[in-house]
């Protein structure tokens, strides 16, 4: 065997630990960790700090496992899209079967250990989330309907609900509201991305709204979802997870978000291309701050509650 052949094999089959970690979609995981933590801490039932840490960790591992299963199933799409070409499977670092095995093993592990660390309601919700994301969204609806983003958003919206269930052992209005916040936020967030990453989704033949119904319809959809989201986000201020801090945050950010959505709605393709999708890119960046700030405000209200200052009481 020559030295050249060893080098070639090493490049093909010897994945590093970081390649396996990349299968878990670490950037998505940070959102899962943050929102699950807020759901757990905003709940009215105190949880032992170590068990709270474990619960959030297992929710994150469950989310990561579903990410690995998504990468296994969608390897053909990832290979075509510029944004995802360097992922471990299309780049040849990890074999698809390996990703599937890791995804399945970690899914089972995360669900069982979340059940042991907290309760079986939270574990069942995590199992359902993984099933929903992998089977309903990835395998079935993603390649079939232009509403794929709306459905995928539901899977991403579960973590705060699971965090809440880990503390309380149940589902309540407050946890459903946190779910709705992410669920309604996801479509405008991703459609804005689809507007300026146009060729990616076209090439991959994923039925994005921009491709199936046109870019004008996508701009309309962004505005409608943003208005519905604003109503819901502000209304949440008057429930037990809300309060003056949350209301102030929601009012400012929703005003900015609606302003951004209106700007996208009023533009046509010529105007967008003239400034390289400046308004769409700004809206996308704002959407990241939007979600982070809303959940931070919920966390702040929960923190103030401990000192008798949170909420409207």
């Amino acid at each position: 065997m020559t030295d050249t052949s060893i080098t070639t094999n090493a490049g093909q089959g010897e994945a590093q630990f970081s390649d396996y970690f990349a299968l878990l979609k670490p950037r998505v995981m940070t959102l899962v960790v943050f929102t699950a933590m807020v759901g757990l801490l905003a709940a009215p039932v105190p949880v032992h700090p170590f068990l709270a840490f474990c619960a959030v960790l297992f929710i994150a591992i469950g989310g990561g496992a579903s990410g690995a299963l998504n990468m296994w199933w969608d390897a053909d799409i990832d290979a075509v899209m510029r944004r995802t070409q360097k992922r471990p499977i299309p780049s040849g670092k990890v074999a698809p079967e390996e990703a599937m095995a890791i995804g399945l093993a970690l899914s089972g592990f995360a669900v069982m250990f979340l059940g042991l660390a907290s309760n079986w309601v939270a574990a069942a919700l995590l199992a359902f989330t993984i099933f929903f994301y992998v089977v309903i969204y990835t395998m079935w609806l993603k390649r079939w309907t232009p509403q794929n983003i709306v459905i995928g958003g539901a899977a991403g919206a579960f973590p705060p609900m699971i965090g809440w269930a880990a503390a309380t052992g149940s589902v309540s209005v407050e946890s459903v509201l946190m779910f709705c916040l992410i669920f309604m936020w996801t479509p405008p967030h991703f459609w804005a991305l689809a507007l300026f990453m146009r060729s990616d989704y076209d090439n991959a033949k994923v039925p994005m709204l921009t491709v199936t119904h046109g870019r004008r319809a996508t701009r309309n959809h962004i505005l409608v979802y943003t208005l519905l989201l604003a109503v819901m986000a502000v209304a949440a201020a008057f429930t037990s997870i809300g309060g003056p801090v949350y209301l102030a945050t929601a009012l400012v950010l929703n005003a900015l978000f609606i302003k951004g959505a209106v700007a996208i709605w009023r533009r046509d393709e010529d105007a967008s291309e003239a400034d390289n999708f400046k308004a769409e890119k700004r809206f996308f960046k704002l959407s990241l701050l939007y979600l982070f700030a809303h959940f931070l405000a919920i966390l702040a209200e929960a923190g103030l509650e401990r000192f008798g200052l949170g909420g409207w009481a």
Binding site: I6, T7, N9, A10, E14, A15, Q16, F17, S18, Y20, F21, H48, F50, L51, C54, L57, F113, L116, A117
Partner: protein, 52 residues
């Protein structure tokens, strides 16, 4: 015996250390969870379960 280190060995070392650390963290978590749950009485028998 191979005397020279190759790129492939460096990669394997990184992976093995990663798996080792993940296993060590897993043991620490199971141990920690057990201590918390036992010390707060999660596994104590309810009065009706205690045989007379």
């Amino acid at each position: 015996m191979i005397g020279q280190q190759h790129e492939i060995h460096r990669r394997r070392l990184g992976r093995n250390v990663g798996v080792g650390l993940a296993l060590a963290a897993f043991i620490a978590i199971v141990f920690g969870m057990t201590i918390v749950k036992v010390s707060r009485g999660d596994y104590e028998m309810k009065p009706q379960q205690v045989q007379k």
